[in-house]
């Protein structure tokens, strides 16, 4: 038992070390010292433990008291160093350059290894500039290729190179005397040896530290597209992820040729994710399992994933780096060129090298089982089965609920109406998405299944335990060895061993299994400690292990009248949540409702005491034990994992999950077991496939029922956004959960303290408990909020691709959203309101908007409005005057008649664009579940529920000279002025030109937002107002900078420039613009075939603005990401998400921006 406590304690201390490293990072230069300290401490611990064993446990010695402190020190330091070394790519100090009055010297302390790049850091101030050249040699690796340009590999799998020694003299390195100490400089030429320095200009004193830059793949990536291609030689080290539209491979690079015709560097770490287009020649050989292990040559741009595009957004770069992915490649094959990615066969071999034999065996087995699934179960149930049994969840992408393509399917018959949501969205909305992430549930199901099969066959457990563990390892490999799977396999293996050989039970296995599994996973990759798949998996198992029993105990006290009351209130609250979710989050409703529930509960209890009661058998404890434990476990998972962590990671909470999982979890047990048995028995020659057919025919019913369950739950239940809690809030939450878990010993301790202190009042323990609870909440009040900002006006221009969304936060606390971004329905995942705007609101704890202004009915500005109405409380919806007459039930012709004569409008715009707009506003005739603005407006009337929950909304159309949201804070006025549309009718581009143009004013600062005005509208706006009324330091470029001045698909450059000079320039001039903000992104999804034209026009428009304002004064959401503006009423300050990412150690540091080559 003592060993067990040291293993458990050591594991948790190791995790603590990782947490300390995250909170208090040290300079990586300390790593060697920390590593040695950790090694010494752990080595000493091991020696003392060995000594203790030799001495025997019955004779404790005084020196044994040192075991725990040493173990703690060693484990914490180990965790600290593992995390720090995994999170940084330290460059190595190789020498220094020192200039004094007496000498100028280059002193090399460590010889260079391989092909090296140098980085210099200024260490002291200088009185003059320093200029020099580095002189040395390079042993360059040069390509050895066959006639087809493929790199050669010898029979042992080593890449072949020609070595060429060449003298190298670097370009002039200049260190300005004005640069601050700590400035970094790169030597752009690579060296294998440095032989000296050629001094050109030297100050009196100087000191430079010289680093050898690590050849980690992360040091070769470039953040933006359009870089010159590089060549990578490497090996495919994971199973290809095959989608129907692309294949994604993980390549571990061995060498990189950088730049295109430069030398090859030996890569010192990091993987590359390669995405292949099916149109590439030879694509099919990469889109199959046998590609695993193959050596490859890839040529293409090496880029890096984006960090957050918007404040609080998803950091794709960090997510990938947690899995050691530091580069992205999308090889492109120009017409007539050889394929950019080829497999390389070693000399003398017939085929490419295979991967690890166990992995190859596992993946081959998976393909054979998948083949059986495809033969015996129709799509999409087969994809579902492949996802939950084989971990092939990517195959389910794009699949829709069966029957949804046909009008009049079952959904219509029961009044739900067809939904275009994909199955994966159904799963997410209904809270059963976890079944697609292979985890403890699946592994446990398979463990029970294998044990049951062996037990049926009368094998002794000592014999079959190793076979079951082997099967679980194969299963982990098949399903991609994600942290959640590994955790479960390690834990189940430990359980099997303790059960099989030590006759231990489940609880002791869980107690030791959880920390050991966490330790092993984090020892391999400490970066996943904050990854959702890790924390959710461990959160689930800890919730099950620790919270289920106390929950069960409390629920078991419910019987008779009280049980009925609880059932009724849970049911009623659920019904209210389904019908009107906002009430659940309205304090004015929910607290009285809960108080009412408590009163009714007490009345029911009193009635019980007086004999007015239902049977005592009507109780939670009266349920079958398995059912009651399962319900308690579901409550435990919701409380311990889903509610806090789902809000933190996904800013949403699947309300349906609490109910859907009551059916889904038992059901998935049946589906996985039948699938696994069917797949394995199907491997038996001749009769096997028939058995699989028989089992999968039955499983088809269960799988279909599962899909149906998720679909119905997703349609009935809301999937609300939740405020993202701060880390300190989660810590405090878990303090209370811990108090709940250990409430009995805690209560005993409280009573003991009260007795000791002679607090004899009957209420003393309760008051002491309340005081402790209050103390626990202190960190909430003393820690600063997530985002501390100066007073004044703030505007956030979101990065929403091709579209617009601007949040205005006034000094007085009003929040107004101007436009809502685009919604791409076809692929079901490009709803900018859902992806960007609402998550930001959750992150920033914004629950209400004072105003939502839609400047134009066009989808790139208005499509997200319906989604926002669904999820947000909005006081006022402001529309352009042309939309004043929009009404529910309008026909298409009536709708386009709002913009002008219907025939004229129909002739002027592509019909798809008009229909898209109609569907966004009035609804889609086929997809009745799709959100649309006008029906959503109808639900925001002044009825009681809306008034109570604050969802009552006023809609108004505005015109020129209207002033909105006016306020005065500390004598500084704030208001939003409406400047257009011009009352005179337009003949062309009527939808664009009849939109709103706004001017946001805060004191002396003004921001002009001309919406989607086309050139004529811009010109009229410029001349309709006095210069003082137009003046704005910041101009948001109208029409997203992509207005086409002609009717041609490819307008001439001269036409665009003429239009900009003639129509856009007057607006800039008269407004006295100092800054311009572009809102731009990939337009193809919005404009279709016109997308490339829009991009070309936007490029020219951007050049035009840059030429007039200066490059630094033109910001763009496609390059600078979200743009944040702050006004103090006198001047503006601009900040961008790109700058924030860089400040956090992002991609654009000075060194990595420099090109490196011969």
């Amino acid at each position: 038992m003592k060993w067990q406590s040291k293993i458990i304690g050591g594991s948790y201390l190791y995790i603590s070390g990782i947490v300390v490293a995250m909170l208090l990072p040290l300079d990586p230069a300390w790593l060697p010292l920390l590593r040695i300290s950790a090694g010494l401490a752990l080595g000493a611990t091991a020696c003392l433990l060995a000594w203790a064993m030799w001495q025997g446990a019955e004779r404790p010695q005084p020196w044994m008291q040192w075991i725990w402190p040493l173990l703690a020190l060693g484990a914490v330091l180990l965790g600290y160093t593992r995390y720090t070394s995994a999170n940084t790519v330290p460059d190595m100090v190789v020498g220094e350059i020192r200039i004094t009055a007496d000498a100028r010297e280059w002193r090399q302390t460590v010889p260079l290894t391989d092909t090296s790049r140098l980085r210099l850091v200024k260490e002291v101030e200088m009185d003059r500039d320093l200029q020099f050249r580095v002189v040395g040699e390079l042993d360059a690796r040069l390509a050895v290729q066959d006639d087809d340009g493929r790199h050669l590999m010898d029979a042992d799998g080593r890449w072949k190179f020609r070595k060429a020694r060449m003298p190298i003299t670097s370009e002039v390195v200049t260190l300005s005397a004005d640069d601050p100490v700590g400035t970094e400089y790169a030597v752009v030429q690579p060296f294998s040896r440095v032989t000296g320095i050629e001094w050109l200009e030297t100050p009196t004193t100087a000191a430079l530290r010289v680093y050898r830059m690590s050849n980690h793949i992360g040091s070769f990536v470039r953040p933006m597209r359009g870089q010159s291609p590089v060549t990578v030689l490497g090996r495919i080290t994971s199973d290809p992820r095959v989608y129907d539209y692309q294949t994604v491979l993980m390549v571990t690079p061995a060498f990189i040729q950088f730049p295109a015709n430069g030398p090859f560097y030996k890569v010192e770490g990091g993987d590359i994710q390669v995405t292949l287009n099916p149109r590439m020649e030879g694509y099919s050989q990469f889109a199959q399992t046998s590609a695993y292990g193959a050596d490859v040559q890839i040529r293409g741009e090496l880029t890096v994933a984006r960090a957050e595009s918007n404040p609080g957004g998803f950091n794709a770069r960090q997510f990938m780096q947690n899995y050691n992915i530091y580069g992205l490649m999308r090889p492109f094959q120009p017409r007539g060129e050889p394929p950019p990615m080829t497999m390389i066969i070693p000399e003398g071999s017939e085929s490419v090298r295979a991967g690890h034999p166990l992995v190859s065996f596992s993946l081959g087995l998976r393909d054979r089982i998948l083949l059986l699934f495809k033969s015996t179960m129709p799509y999409p149930q087969s994809a579902f089965l492949g996802g939950v049994t084989l971990g092939l969840r990517y195959g389910l992408q794009g699949a829709q609920f069966p029957g949804e393509h046909d009008r009049g399917a079952w959904a219509s018959r029961v009044g739900l109406g067809p939904s275009e949501a994909q199955i994966v969205a159904d799963f997410r909305y209904s809270g059963v998405n976890h079944v697609l992430a292979v985890s403890g549930l699946h592994v446990t199901i398979l463990t029970v299944m294998f044990v049951a099969i062996f037990s049926l066959l009368k094998f002794p457990k000592q014999v079959f335990v190793p076979f079951v563990i082997f099967a679980l390892v194969v299963f982990a490999i098949i399903t991609g060895a994600r942290p959640s799977t590994l955790r479960a396999v390690i834990m189940n293996s430990l359980f099997l061993m303790t059960w099989g050989y030590l006759d231990k039970g489940l609880l002791s296995s869980v107690l030791i299994g959880v920390p050991v599994a966490a330790f092993l996973i984090l020892l391999h990759n400490p970066l996943v400690v904050v990854d959702p798949s890790f924390t959710l998996s461990f959160g689930a198992i800890l919730s099950l292990a620790l919270i289920t029993m106390p929950t069960h105990e409390i629920l078991s006290t419910l019987r008779s009248n009280r049980f009925l009351v609880v059932l009724i209130f849970v049911g009623a609250t659920t019904a209210i949540g389904i019908v009107h979710w906002a009430l659940i989050t309205t304090p004015l409703f929910i607290f009285p409702w809960l108080a009412f529930a408590v009163v009714v509960f007490q009345v029911a209890k009193r009635l019980e005491q007086q004999g007015w009661k239902l049977s005592d058998r009507f109780a939670f404890s009266g349920l079958p034990e398995g059912v009651s434990t399962f319900v308690a476990a579901q409550v435990a998972i919701q409380v311990g994992m889903m509610i806090p962590l789902s809000a933190y990671y996904f800013v949403r909470w699947p309300f349906a999950g609490a109910y859907a999982n009551l059916i889904a979890i038992p059901l998935i047990g049946v589906v996985v077991q039948l699938g696994a048995i069917g797949g394995l028995l199907g491997l038996i020659p001749i009769v096997g496939p028939y058995i699989t057919l028989l089992l999968n025919a039955a499983n088809w019913i269960f799988a279909s029922f599962f899909l149906w369950l998720a679909h119905v739950a997703s349609l009935i239940f809301p999937y609300p956004f939740a405020r993202r809690p701060r880390v300190i809030e989660i810590v405090v939450y878990y303090l209370f959960i811990a108090a709940f878990i250990w409430h009995k010993p805690l209560w005993k301790w409280i009573k003991g303290v009260c007795a000791k202190r002679q607090w004899n009042a009957p209420s003393a323990p309760a008051m002491f408990a309340v005081a402790l609870a209050a103390i626990a909440t202190v960190p909430l009040w003393v820690t600063p909020p997530r985002d501390t900002r100066p007073d004044g006006m703030h505007m956030t221009f979101f990065e929403v691709g091709y579209g617009s969304a601007i949040l205005v936060e006034s000094p007085g606390g009003q929040r107004i959203l101007i436009d809502t971004g685009f919604v791409e329905h076809e692929r079901g995942r490009r709803n900018q309101a859902e992806r960007t705007i609402l998550p930001y609101f959750s992150h920033a704890a914004i629950r209400r908007l004072d105003g939502l202004i839609v400047t134009s009915p066009l989808p790139e500005r208005a499509a997200g409005a319906a989604t926002l109405l669904e999820h947000m409380r909005i006081n006022t919806l402001v529309l352009p005057p042309m939309m004043a007459g929009v009404e529910p039930g309008m026909t298409f012709d009536e709708f386009i008649g709002l913009f002008g004569p219907a025939s004229h409008v129909a002739a002027a715009y592509p019909i798809e664009r008009l229909e898209g707009m109609y569907h966004e506003w009035l609804g889609h005739p086929r997809w009745s579940q799709r959100a649309a603005l006008v029906p959503a407006m109808q639900t925001r009337g002044p009825h009681l529920a809306n008034r109570l929950s604050g969802r009552h909304m006023v809609t108004r159309a505005v015109g020129p000279s209207d002033v909105l949201f006016e306020e005065m804070v500390e004598d500084v006025p704030f208001r939003i002025e409406v400047l257009s549309p011009d009352p005179r009718p337009f003949t062309q581009h009527v939808i664009e030109n009849h939109g709103l143009a706004l001017r946001v004013v805060h004191g002396d600062v003004a921001v002009l937002i001309p919406g989607h005005l086309h050139y004529e509208g811009q010109y009229r706006l410029a001349h309709a107002w006095h210069e003082d009324q137009l003046r704005a330091q910041v101009l948001v470029v109208p029409h997203l900078g992509s207005a086409n001045p002609t009717r041609q698909d490819r307008p001439a450059r001269s036409h665009i420039e003429r239009a900009l000079n003639q129509y856009s320039a007057p607006l800039m001039d008269r407004a006295q613009t100092e800054w311009a903000i572009f809102q731009f992104g990939e337009p193809r999804g919005v404009l279709g075939e016109a997308g490339p034209t829009a991009r070309n026009i936007a490029d020219l428009t951007r050049q035009f603005y840059r030429a007039r304002l200066g490059t630094d004064r033109v910001l763009s959401t496609d390059q600078d990401l979200a743009i944040m503006l702050h006004s103090d009423g006198r001047s503006v300050h601009m900040d961008t998400q790109s700058q924030r990412n860089r400040a956090r150690g992002g991609e654009d540091d000075a060194v990595s921006d420099l090109s490196i080559g011969l």
């Binding site: 049926l456 048995i677 057919l693 999968n696």
Partner: protein
Amino acid sequence: MERGVKLLTRIMAVALLMGAAVILLHPDYRDTFRAMWWGDIEDSAIWMSNRGYYSEVVHDMEAMYEVAE
């Protein structure tokens, strides 16, 4: 564990009966059974519905594992 054995046995027994019923009653499953019997599974309705799903995984396993030079 004994409960797990019993449960698995019951699930298997029920599944075999249900499977037989589905093959008898569902036209696509009848069609697939016939196709399997005659060795032309790739013509069955179920296989056809899976054409786009992991299209590289096909019955010709040698072709599946063949890597072009």
